[in-house]
């Protein structure tokens, strides 16, 4: 069948629209990359001279290093706690009926609706009222609450597509519940557990708003350190740091895409 003029027109306008939207998505990152190479302390477009000195500055600024260490620790510990609690809850929610099951689910999923600033404020007030110190554990607690729903969802989806027959076979052959759990259930759930934990770690690493409420100078995360830097200095150091930030995130996404296929993970296939 030959294409009509209208069809060609639609095809081409579709392509132009698609390219402009993708351009809009990428524009800020391209601009930030150009700005990071600007030699002067005051940004100008196009840059009058080029240099890499803001990259050196980003590496040397002590708050960024300390923030990175805090963020990595918080993300690792927080994602682990969220994985244990979230996987356990997804398992009992999928398999059993028990008292207050619906209520427990509502409370645990509520951080999807409650704004992050409210979660941060709530836990700050709570910890002050209980006269707990504003330690790194308070920040971890806030992050666990925020990332838990995503872990639960990821593990729950794996459990729903789970083939129960393998467990039943193992049981009928005399396996104890613990044996079945460790040798059949956990290995089969592994992809869901890994993607849930990864997602939790990325979200926690990026979390800013709720953290701002509960950190202090000693426990500040990398996003909070970056925010404080913009408020004090206008030089392109943060542009350099943004470029450094983009690289590992993009690499990780490509890696996840290669092994899990994002279309499948996001259910858009």
């Amino acid at each position: 069948m030959r294409k009509s003029v209208l069809d060609h027109l639609l095809d081409w306008s579709g392509r132009i629209v698609l390219i402009s939207i993708l351009g809009f998505v990428l524009l800020p990152f391209v601009v930030v990359a150009i700005a990071s190479l600007n030699d002067g302390a005051i940004l100008s477009f196009p840059p009058k001279s080029w240099s890499l000195r803001w990259y050196a500055n980003a590496f040397e600024y002590r708050d960024f290093g300390a923030g990175l260490v805090n963020s990595l620790r918080i993300a690792a510990v927080g994602a682990t706690i969220a994985l244990i609690a979230g996987a356990g809850f997804a398992y009992v929610f999928n398999r059993y009926d028990f008292m207050f099951k619906g209520l427990l689910n509502t409370v645990l999923m509520s951080p999807l609706i409650i704004p992050n600033f409210t979660i941060g404020l709530g836990l700050l007030i709570l910890s002050t009222a209980a006269s707990l110190p504003r330690s790194i554990w308070l920040v971890i607690a806030v992050h666990v609450v925020i990332v838990l729903p995503f872990v639960v969802r990821s593990v729950y989806v794996s459990l729903k597509n789970f083939e129960r027959r393998y467990e039943q076979a193992a049981e009928s052959l005399g396996g104890t519940p613990l044996h079945v759990l460790l040798t059949i259930t956990l290995p089969l759930l592994l992809p869901g557990l890994i993607s849930g934990a990864l997602f939790a770690a990325i979200l926690s690493f990026n979390e800013f708003t709720a953290s701002l409420y509960v950190v202090n100078q000693r426990t500040q995360t990398l996003p909070v350190a970056m925010y404080n830097y913009v408020r004090e200095y206008a030089d392109p150091t943060l542009a350099a740091l943004s470029v450094i930030y983009v690289a590992p995130v993009a690499a990780m996404l490509l890696l996840v895409h290669k092994f899990f296929r994002l279309e499948k993970v996001l259910n858009v296939d």
Partner: protein, 283 residues
């Protein structure tokens, strides 16, 4: 042997966390009913004053600004996100589909600060956009984009786009293509087929995406704070300011409580909308 092995072991950690969430919510409710003593961090006796204070113009204005931001952001995110999701789902080559998906998703994992800072460089008075337009001679004075609603909306659309694209793509990919084929074989053109078959079938997805866009915009803090620069005051920036500039945590608590109730009300409205649509679709 118990019929529900591991129930206690598996449920306990999440029950503990649920108690923490409930307790922090109660802490907010409790604080919202306490008096503020200037200069002291501990609140005073029980009172309803915080809620009467909220009737003041500053707070009312912040509410209006927030709702306007949510509305414009949701609208433009849908207008941009729909073609993107459509192109992704209908892309003929798998490579193009993956490329669109990766490009739309990357911003989601870059966090609020990197994205907002990047937009500050694009939108600033000496920023990329103004410098380029002035050099091209399109404008002779920089456009006011920083510290304005327009600037905040542009950055918020960018912030909300990935999640909206994912939701719309999920909805579009589950539409039965045979219905479109039937329409085309009966003589409908591509535009007519889209308007009478594809678009109506994707309305539930559009409603879910809109409600998510709304919730995201409502809770956004870094974008209105950094691009609005105090000139665009939303609930989120006001709660932070009231809490950390005046240390009036009782007022901050009541402000977030009212904001939360408002979010729940709007989301419930969207939900009933979806149920209605599904019932219409069932007939």
């Amino acid at each position: 042997m118990s019929k529900r092995p591991f129930l206690g072991w598996f449920a306990s950690p999440s029950i503990l966390i649920a108690f923490g969430i409930a307790a922090s919510f109660l802490a907010i409710v409790q604080f919202s009913l306490r008096a503020h003593i200037p200069g002291a961090l501990d609140p005073g006796g029980f009172t309803l004053d915080n809620f009467t204070t909220l009737w003041k113009t500053v707070y009312g204005k912040a509410f209006v600004t927030t709702v306007l931001l949510c509305w414009w952001t949701a609208l433009f995110t849908l207008l941009i996100g729909y073609p993107l999701a459509y192109a992704m789902v209908r892309a003929k080559s798998a490579r193009l589909r993956s490329a669109i998906l990766l490009i739309s998703l990357t911003p989601l994992f870059l966090g609020e600060i990197v994205r907002t800072y990047s937009w500050m460089i694009v939108l600033g008075n000496r920023g990329f956009l103004n410098a380029t337009l002035m050099q091209l001679g399109v404008i002779d004075r920089p456009l006011d984009l920083m510290f304005t609603m327009t600037g905040v909306v542009i950055a918020l659309v960018h912030f909300t786009l990935p999640i909206v694209v994912v939701m719309l793509a999920a909805a579009l990919s589950h539409i039965d293509r045979n219905l479109e084929r039937a329409a085309t074989s009966l003589g409908a053109g591509r535009i007519r087929c889209f308007l009478t078959v594809t678009l109506p079938l994707s309305i539930p997805g559009i409603v879910t995406a809109t409600s998510t866009a709304f919730a995201w915009t409502f809770s956004a803090f870094a974008t209105p704070q950094m691009i609005g620069g105090g000139k665009v005051q939303t609930i989120s920036t006001l709660v932070y300011q009231v809490g950390f500039a005046s240390f009036n945590f009782p007022l901050a608590a009541s402000l977030s409580l009212v904001g939360l109730l408002f979010t729940i009300a709007v989301l419930a409205l969207f939900n009933t909308g979806i149920h209605r649509l599904e019932r219409i679709g069932a007939h």
